[in-house]
Amino acid sequence: MAESLCRVLRDGALEGELAPALTIKDSILSPLGPHIFDHVLCQLSSFILAGKSQSRGLVLVAFSRSPSYYAALLKSRGSDTTDFDKWFWILDCYSDPLGWRHRLKESGAIRSCPDSSSGVTVCRDVRNLDKLLVEILELGKGLVGQGKDQFCIAIDSVTEMLRDVPLSSAAGLLSSVRSHEQVSCTLWTMLADVHSTSTVAAVEYLSSIVASVEGVTQQKGAQLGISDGLPLLQQNASQGRFRVRFKRRNGRVRLMLEDIHVEKSGITFLPVSSEEESMAQTLIPKVQFNLQLSEKEQMDRLKVVLPFEHQEKEKARRIYDGRRSLMDGQNGMTVEAEKPPVSENSGSGEIVYIRDSDDERPDSDEDPDDDLDI
Amino acid sequence: MATTTRPRTSSFSRNPLAGPTSQVPGLKPGPNGSVFISSGIPDLDRILGGGFCLGSLVMVMEDPEAPHHMLLLRNFMAQGLVHNQPLLYASPAKDPKGFLGTLPNPISSKDEKPRDHAAEQDKGLRIAWQYKKYFGENQQGHDSRDAKHEYCNDFDLRKPLERQFLGGKNIICVSTIDLTLETFRERCRTFLAQNSRNNGVMACASRIAIQSFCAPQCGYFDKHSEASKKSSLVPQFVKFIQLLPLRYLGVDHLGLLLSFQDWDMLAFIKSLKGIVQSSNSVAIITLKQFQACEHFLLSICIALPLTSNEDKELAKLLTGYQEMVGLLSIHKVARINTQVPLVLEASTFSIKLHKRRSLVLECLNQAPIDGSTGASYGTSGSCSGSTKQGALDF
């Protein structure tokens, strides 16, 4: 499922549509959001490097971790570092977000101060979102050029951004980033505990995919005593439940659930463990009848000869399918393509049975009018 | 800053305070190079392991219904005056000097007759102290109390402090009515700086007593309260000051706390703490509380009404209830120069009057608990304050 998430981001935006936006939401009890962010970032960058994705470059707005961290991360995941700055640029809102160090350095109080270098641009006033927006877009255009090529934008912590500015302007930034024509996709993380529910809802509203990390224990919470608290806390720090909600183009919403484990080598996504599944199954209320047929039952069902199909044994079964003239012309026919009953005793009553097409299962959900072209 | 500049030659250097203190009345060397001064209540000194450490800031939470904090304040101030220590007293009254007239007089140690050797006292307590060892031999029974008698006096609450103690030049009374925090801070700073200059290194320990710091009539109150009408700050405020001081006493009170204090007051207390710490003095601050705020009770105060109307239920639970004046609970005793906390025998003590004139603190004697009521009136553990509150229902 994590792959499908990355695929959606890879495929990017359609012409005239908003770019897909991923919100990764975690909480203090299961703080795995950054790991997922790293994972997605690495996937995206490998797509970009391989030329598989819509976007040609990536702009990372680093609020919560240092540029060097990300450089090291991408390198360790096997990205080629030689020409990072051709496709990857970091807007550094981490080292000197408020310009303190710049000012201090100018006044001579300190000696070192982060400077923009190749691949990294330092932002010294994160409160000025207009400037931030312009800067992000400029960097992106610098990577892919002014033309039709697109780039993606990753913001590593909306939480940090929201601390400095009111929600409305932060939301404005996010949505204008999304709607920019050269933006292929966007992603960001947020720490849900810190914000009010309305803030979380607003950010979720702005995104097309919401991935939230929950503790494994939250599901079972009710069954556990307080004494188990510590091991669970420990468990939550390395694994969790990953719940993703896709808002699709056509308006449908798809929900998915996976287990995640953070290990030495990185993060792994596993289908929800079978134990959980069986538990989920037992939760379905017991019904007196089956809603579906098993395969064998379906086979048996096919073999049943209905009374009105039944004719004398030695004769081939012939069921009128409405295309008599055609059949006649072909002459030789198989048993399966039944012939219409030739009336021997015309004058007596006759049942004409038209069998429905076999390819559709009974009780299927498919729309019978699917193929209608209106 | 002053402490950091103290030269340290070897790791076994003695505290420079340790030497002279044996000669200076009113100071007592404590563990880890700390120096104690007396709180003016012998029992409190004993409970705290010797008294207030020099450099500590003592917070006293007032009981709005009973002026028990005044008892502590009076004894603290009187003790300082008896030892001829400089004193700064700040209060929201118009004429704070008048308060000095209500200070209690020390009880003569040996017999019950009041001190009459005034001439001797004029020369200071040093003379009496020198004779102490002879007295000690003659005294029977209470030599332990007598040995530190000069360090800590018993005070007779019924008798006003004799005039000769009030004659010292080092008494400053400040009214906080028209004071801003800035000037207040400066007053404290200059007071302490003066005294440490006048009296050499360690001749005297200064005392600062600030009464009703958060009282609404204080000059700085209105100005600042406007800015911080947010009630959410209040628990923070109280918590902060609880953590700031080196020592913290909660005088029995109803836990009716609420004061629209803001960060300026906190900053004042913080800087006062810094000043006090560096100038080897002790400041005691009483704080008023106005309005009930439930979640304070959980963490701060043990509230027991012992004022006018008698509580039958309490009387059943606590023996000796009739003699009690109030309760005192100690919430925090921070220690200087050591990381080992002081474990008190109990955190709540009853305040009683001995022979109707001197203050005594005793552990609560708990009557056997009636099984049906269930509520434990344990003497230790301030965390049980909430349950008490619930059971008492006042």
Partner: protein, 300 residues
Amino acid sequence: MDRSSQLLDEALGIVDDTSSMVSSSFPSSSVVLIEDCVETSGAFVIHHILKRSLSPPSSAAVVLVSLSHPFSHYDRILRKLVHTFALSLSFVLFSQGCNLAAHRDNRRFFFCDMLMVDFPRQGQGNVSKGGLIELYAKIQKVVEDISSSFGSGKCITIILDDFSLIEVAANGSLNHSLDFLRYCYALTSEFGLGLLVHTSCGGVYPLPSIQGCSLVILHHEDIYSAEESAALILQMEYLADVVIKAEPLATGLAADVHGQLTVLNKGIHDQLRSSKSKVHNFHFKLRENGVECFYPGTQA
């Protein structure tokens, strides 16, 4: 001696690396948050970390930003702390207490005395920012000095004692104190950078071993009763790699047990060193010469 503080070391992730004489005994570029309350002080963890960082085998430098105690307070405590470490299994070396004044002269220990510094404040509403920026400048200056005089490989531990007073200095502004914290946090990934690699196109990228300062913060948890202020604690906990909570025993005070510690070590998901997250819970008893940690009920 005994395994008195071994539990605490383990929980903190301090390893005595005796095989390789690596200087670092305290994990670098980590953030340790100590939360305590009125009933139980967590200051002893700071003393312990001070001790471990300054005595061999560690060679780290320490910057102590003190807002609550004078130098003499730490000095006296640290002198009494005794710490043992084993060079090999058979040979145990006792190291006597640690002399902060001497370390200060050696320029391994830096004491920023903020006790008497009054942070300037302007009128209401307009939070003066000068104070904390200056404090930050002070810290960074010291860090710069250390890394220029000892070389960039030096481990530096910055200790903030305590953060609630930073808030007072910020005049209660949550955002402003968090800004300060954020700047301090940025130091953990900056100084003492390991090797720098010059890439062909001119960009400079460090090797994955990002070595920065480590940051130790003491904070009082129970000053926040109001819901909204909990955000600060939450954000601090989120930033921290190790969260230590000092609490009183549920049963109240006891003479033999001074409290309990809960240590949540989130583990370092570094590319080089990676450790699994762990939660420890144990009781402690403070002594003059150290802290004794034990699991509940296992005290001899």
